[in-house]
Point group: C2
Chain length 215, copies 2
Amino acid sequence: MKIGILGTGMVGETIGSKLVQKGHEVKMGSRSATNEKAAQWVSKSGNKASQGTFKDAAYFGDILFNCTKGEISVEVLRSTGEETLKGKILVDLANALDFSKGRPPGLIFGTNDSLGETIQRSFPDLKVVKTLNTMNCTIMVNANRVPGEHDVFICGNDPEAKKKVSDLLANDFGWKNIIDLGDITGARASEMLLPIWLRLYGTFGNTDFNFHISR
Amino acid sequence: MKIGILGTGMVGETIGSKLVQKGHEVKMGSRSATNEKAAQWVSKSGNKASQGTFKDAAYFGDILFNCTKGEISVEVLRSTGEETLKGKILVDLANALDFSKGRPPGLIFGTNDSLGETIQRSFPDLKVVKTLNTMNCTIMVNANRVPGEHDVFICGNDPEAKKKVSDLLANDFGWKNIIDLGDITGARASEMLLPIWLRLYGTFGNTDFNFHISR
């Protein structure tokens, strides 16, 4: 499959590397077509990896991964041009933390909205699927990193897009427990897990944990 | 132990009944000393159960359980008189949902504050311990109701009060996995679990589930 990664940080690199390893063609996008971090990633990732602008990556991919910080995600997507995004699937795994009032951080979109919904509202022809945002990126791409049963949440307005993303999660990232939270308003529910995730990170001192719904 | 229950709803009744069953003396408080629901509960609960006003219950208990709705909790506590609350432990298991903007509901205290913190700020001499607010009340008092591993979160500013409440959770309610989130600011983290709890309730169609942190 052709995949566009938006963002060159640790999350983008981890997702991109895993998808290349699984045989997908991956273009990593950033503000500049010659971004150094993307160039380094391409040089070590073989001929299925490439780089470009955000627009290049969005144009290239059938499925796009939003690996930018939540506070700039809409602006980044806007920069690709709305026409570019039409009909594409965007896997939104970002979070939008608000450190303006100190720590622990709040959430930029509060409790009656979310980043996922904001992106979907801003780009109605994009199929936003919110998932993977409730764990460290090393676990996103390798569910077996955490022992025992644990879950990934998914939500979005387009059932077919959710199905495609679920298949990718299962086949490429090893996810067995995928909990469907319904339409994109479920994004506010999963984004509100971030504060306790941060708290647990502080308590445990590492990121090798994940949520599980026992029943 | 002497326990005061604030509130006569399903949560108050479930907590009160379990504590009576475990041998504690329990007074259920409400606005009126002759509240009918409290009277019914007393009549079926034996001689360790009694009823009174919120103030009576707060005066009676060494440990108090806040089983009122989060939107009225501070007002209820205020009605008991600050002197009454001095040095007492309050187990705050309430949540404060905001339905004013429709469904799914938001949280009244947003993402930079919480009910637990608001109560602690309002009554500095009360030892607020936030716990049990992330599950149905039938599970609060009977951890074995959900199979396998699952967790209860606890937080508060007073280590001794947390220890006393943890002992009660373990001995009377059967909790093995108690995760300490630190000081009372952890309340915003656990209160932000409510939106996904509500979503999962809608998805599963029942309340027999709970959060577990796998690691």
